[in-house]
């Protein structure tokens, strides 16, 4: 029995090694991104090699998981989906009951490592929506839309309650994109958008004071020079002083002099912009656009509805990360804790993103065969 498992396991691993089912353009884009991330981190972290090494280690771990997951066919993933969704939502409930964290409650202490269950939802949420819509007749009617809305609202509400508005936003976006891609009629989208617009004053009422402050500070950063306004001003000074060609690698004065907060995590894009200038920014955003486009391409090539929706939603939510983080750095959006994918320092984010790309690789490997 054990021998059989052992033999099978070895065969599985050998197949991963010898015939990786990966999409080369996507993999190249990700590798390039990870490389840029480590280079920027080295500079932003004041040449701290331990920091860079740790991040590289997480990339290796994430890459291994990517290869492993790329071997799992989408049909299998689909059959697991309800359980994965239910499990990750249940973990959110556990966090709500006994989690720990500073200020807000997001973490679950597993003894060896601390773990943030809301990260799981970034993947299981689009999986669940795709699973639900897969057997339905598309485009979806109001009934199915309402059902999907419920599937999104439960975990998103639990995450927003922690409170972690950034992650709640990303999870909601991931689910909504799957719905959008399923072909939901434009007039229905219009009706829903109008309804959401009408809800904004109500939502404002439910925000925590610090979250409201962040929005208000965006409108008038000078009003809060000891807190978030300071972050916004300093971030813009960093970006603006970079100019077209930047100050050069390791020459970011804003972060070196500690004017810039969180300069290895949420604000690393500001360091990048200061050092590599507009040229670097355009190159980086283009690279992100390429990766997103490639994801959508893989989605279009996919064999069935589940894979299509899932791949498309993963690609589009990748965009949300870039846009929200970049918008915050450039002073267009309020300060929300959303990392710049594969560039910001942080293990959970990097690993969970690479796992999602593993799913994309699996979908790519099981694409339609062209005649």
């Amino acid at each position: 029995m054990i021998e059989v498992l052992y033999v099978r396991g070895r065969r599985f691993l050998r197949r991963i090694m010898t015939r990786p089912r990966i999409d080369l353009p996507l993999a190249t884009g990700l590798l390039l991104l990870a490389f840029i991330g480590l280079v920027t981190l080295y500079s932003a972290g004041d040449g701290n090699l331990a920091l860079v090494g740790g991040q590289a280690g997480r990339f290796v771990l994430g890459g291994a998981l990517l290869l492993l997951i790329s071997r799992i066919p989408p049909q299998v993933l689909r059959s697991w989906t309800p359980w994965l969704y239910a499990g990750s939502t249940a973990l959110l409930v556990v966090v709500a009951v006994l989690g720990e964290g500073r200020g807000s409650i997001r973490w679950l202490d597993l003894g060896v490592m601390r773990f943030q269950p809301s990260e799981l939802l970034k993947l299981t949420m689009p999986m669940m929506v795709a699973w639900y819509l897969h057997p339905r007749r598309l485009p979806p009617g109001w009934g199915d839309i309402a059902m999907v809305g419920l599937l999104i609202a439960i975990p998103a509400g639990l995450i927003a309650e922690q409170p972690d508005l950034g992650t709640a936003l990303l999870v909601t976006a991931a689910g909504t994109f799957a719905l959008f891609l399923s072909g939901m009629a434009w007039w229905r989208i219009g009706v829903l958008l109008a309804a959401v617009g009408g809800m904004i004053p109500v939502a404002w009422h439910f925000l925590h004071q610090y979250q409201r402050d962040r929005v208000l500070t965006l409108l008038n950063p000078e009003s809060d020079p000891l807190g978030n306004g300071w972050h916004i001003i300093q971030s813009q000074i960093a970006v603006g002083s970079g100019g077209i060609f930047g100050k050069g690698w390791q020459h970011s004065t804003q972060s070196r002099l500690d004017f810039l907060p969180e300069h290895t995590t949420d604000f690393i894009f500001a360091v990048f912009s200061e050092e590599f200038g507009l040229v670097g920014v355009i190159a980086l955003i283009t690279l992100y656009a390429f990766i997103i486009g490639r994801c959508l391409w893989i989605a279009m090539e996919a064999r069935e509805t589940y894979s299509r929706l899932l791949a498309g939603a993963i690609g589009m939510s990748f965009f949300v990360y870039v846009f929200v983080n970049g918008g915050m750095i450039a002073g267009m959006l309020p300060v929300v804790g959303v990392p710049l994918p594969l560039i910001s320092y942080g293990g959970t984010s990097a690993v969970s993103l690479l796992v999602a790309f593993g799913v994309l690789m699996s979908i790519h490997a099981n694409r339609k065969r062209h005649a």
Binding site: P135, R136, R137, L138, P139, F177, F180, L181, S182, G183, P225, L226, G227, W230, Q236, I237, A238, V239, G240, S241, G242, G243, I244, T253, Q254, L257, D258, F259, S273, G277, L278, V281, I282, I285, Y288, A289, I292, G293, L296, A299, M300, E304, T305, R308, L309, G312, M316, F319, V322, F323, G326, G327, A330, G331, M332
Partner: protein, 658 residues
């Protein structure tokens, strides 16, 4: 899967394709917008930001708020802010911090606590924000640093406000003290609110009212030169100072109470029964809180911690002692309120009490007994047998559930942190702390305040105040008003009763009140030595609790006061005027021979000073006729125990626990 049959796979594929293309187009447009925004910042506004980046010398600097002052009820200053100087370091200006600290340490001595707190705060602050390194520089240190200042860029002497306690020792256990913010505080405190603040409340009111005393910091925008030294202040946004506090304590009463102990370890608490305001709260011995403000020296600290009388220990709040006979009036009240006794019901005391069917005897006050006594006489003479029998008749459950109404066994809710709960004997408490079942003998001794029973002086004062106030419970309060700014009116802090009266029948109160007056005025009252000369009616009760079980017969033969004092806790509780109570007092001496003779005079001194503070005249109370030579009885010498002084009763032999 019926619906699957009508799924149009090909059509869905096409639909998805269209959607994906639309989605991608939207994404490209959005990312284009993002790039445009970067281009705007990096090209159009580039020059502006380059200038700002190079001239990034304008920095916000927090201005800490002035801490609220603390006054007594008459406006006597108890905690003041005085100017002092400290050493601060701007980390950004320092190239090699360890080397700097080492060199600086040769000019101005730095100890471990300074360095630890500094290292922790260094991590929390932005690199351009100055971090305090050493507090309260002496003149000598300031001079020596001034001479060497050129060697230490980024280090400066900065004026600040520090705390001073003018009445020092008398209020050390009430007002408490502030201390330098240390490594643990840095984790706990809101970094924005405490930016620039170096001290935080450590104990007493300073700690429990930290939020009120600490205001909101302001900030100023300052221009600094290349060395980080301030060149000029561009803008100032003033901080909001913390609120001043007014204690309900009368500082003269407080100091008189402390003096009355003459240094003997003990505690006294006086409470106004009409509103729960604490009028005095003393724990002896005490210490000088000013020592702690700028970091106490190791020598001073060792002297305090190694002192066998533990001056740092707040006996009033945290010390737990068996209440002894002081709870007898309340046990009697429980008997009346639960219907087990009427005031005139009598019990015969013959010197020893036996539980029916058991051979162990429980001793009475007076050898040979006090004869037939009713409730009032039992309180007057502290007759154990009456309360043994009453407790046994009621049973422990009724007794402890009634006593719980007086906050025994739980915190009183005073506005201080760290209050001890004490122990109210009950089946539940014993079940939680022992495997033994509840024994009837334990009920018997609970009736006279012995056994497991343990109270803090504050709890007992609160219980007596609750009784004196006709059973209406108020949580004790030290702070009676706040004040936002020097000229603002005082804002009283409301303290509504925490519940309805715990006494259902006013006649029950009258009976117990009468018994407690007889303690002072009765021919056989244990506290009759206290009656002379006080112009209003007092009511009280003595209590003498044994600290150890009797293991030898030495107790019965050795009547030496010093020997007894080493074995006894002496209590006296009282309130006045008995016909309209306005003050309730509990006094404990850790080593007093007898409750009435050792602690009674302290209670009397507190009452005398309190009355003088009221102008010698009380509203709504009967004034006693001035004593004449015929009626005045000379007070008994405080150190001579008399024969009818109550006899303490040992706890059941259950090991030598105090």
């Amino acid at each position: 899967m019926k619906r699957r049959s009508i799924k149009d796979a090909r059509g869905e594929g096409a639909l998805f394709r269209r959607r994906a293309l639309v989605g991608f187009a939207l994404i490209v447009v959005s990312l284009g917008l993002l790039m445009a925004r970067f281009a705007y910042l990096q090209v159009v506004r580039h020059d502006e930001f380059v200038t700002r980046s190079q001239n990034n010398r304008v920095k916000p600097r927090a201005i800490p708020p002035a801490r609220g002052l603390i006054y007594d009820r008459n406006g006597v200053l108890l905690a003041d802010n005085v100017p002092a100087f400290r050493l601060e370091v701007v980390p950004e200006q320092v190239k090699d911090m360890p080397a700097l600290l080492a060199q600086l340490g040769r000019v101005v001595p730095l100890d471990h606590d300074d360095l630890d707190a500094f290292a922790k705060q260094l991590k929390q602050n932005r690199r351009f924000e100055s971090v305090p390194l050493k507090m309260h520089l002496t003149e000598d240190e300031i001079d020596r640093f001034a001479v060497n200042r050129w060697r230490f860029p980024g280090v400066d002497v900065v004026p600040y406000l520090t705390r001073r306690y003018p009445l020092g020792e008398a209020f050390a256990h009430v007002v408490g003290y502030v201390g330098r913010i240390d490594a643990d505080d840095v984790d706990r405190l809101d970094p924005v609110r405490y930016k620039g603040t170096s001290h935080v409340g450590r104990s007493g009111v300073e700690r429990s009212y930290e939020n009120t005393l600490h205001g909101q910091p302001g900030y100023e925008l300052v221009e600094v030169n290349a060395d980080g030294r301030t060149q000029r202040v561009l803008e100032t946004h003033a901080p909001t100072p913390g609120s001043n506090l007014y204690l309900s304590i009368d500082s003269r009463l407080q100091r008189a109470a402390e003096a009355a102990f003459e240094g003997r370890p003990g505690a006294a608490v006086a409470i106004d029964p009409r509103n729960g305001q604490v009028l005095a709260m003393v724990s002896v011995p005490t210490f000088d809180p000013n020592l702690f403000v700028n970091g106490i020296s190791q020598v001073d600290y060792n002297a305090l911690t190694h002192n066998p009388d533990k001056p740092l220990y707040n006996r009033a709040l945290r010390g737990v002692y068996p209440p002894g006979s002081t709870v007898k009036p309340l046990v009697g009240l429980a008997g009346l309120e639960t219907g087990f006794r009427k005031p005139q019901d009598t019990v015969f005391s013959n010197g020893v009490f036996y539980i029916p069917g058991q051979s162990r005897g429980y001793r009475d006050d007076v050898r040979g007994g006090s004869g037939r006594v009713n409730l009032m006489q039992a309180i007057e003479q502290s007759v154990n047998t009456y309360f043994y029998k009453l407790a046994l008749d009621m049973g422990i459950d009724r007794l402890s559930s009634y006593m719980a109404k007086f906050s025994f066994g739980r915190p009183t809710g005073i506005d201080l942190i760290g209050e001890a709960s004490g122990v109210l004997p009950s089946r539940a408490w014993k079940a939680a702390h022992s495997r033994e079942p509840w024994y009837p003998g334990e009920t018997v001794i609970a009736g006279i305040g012995q056994g497991y029973w343990a109270v803090t002086p504050l709890q007992l004062a609160h219980a007596i105040a609750t009784f004196a106030g006709h059973g209406i419970p108020y949580e004790p309060r030290l702070v009676m008003a706040t004040q936002q700014g020097m000229d603002a009116p005082r804002k009283p802090l409301p303290n509504p009763p925490s519940g309805p009266s715990v006494i259902a029948n006013p006649a029950d109160w009258d009976a117990v009140n009468q018994g407690m007056q007889m303690v002072i005025y009765g021919a056989k009252g244990t506290g009759r030595a206290l009656s002379a000369g006080f112009p209003y009616l007092m009511a009280g009760k003595s209590g003498t609790a044994e600290r150890f079980s009797r293991t030898t017969s030495a107790y019965d033969t050795n009547r030496n006061t010093a020997y007894l004092a080493s074995r006894h806790r002496a209590w006296f509780v009282a309130y006045a005027p008995a016909d309209n109570p306005q003050i309730a007092v509990a006094v404990l001496l850790e080593s007093g021979a007898w409750g009435a003779s050792a602690s009674g005079p302290i209670v009397r001194k507190i009452l005398d000073v309190w009355l003088a503070e009221q102008g010698g005249v009380l509203a709504g109370a009967t004034r006693l006729p001035a004593p004449t030579a015929a009626t005045a009885r000379p007070p008994l010498p405080a150190t001579t125990p008399t024969d009818d002084e109550e006899d303490p009763v040992a706890p059941l032999p259950q090991g030598d626990t105090p």
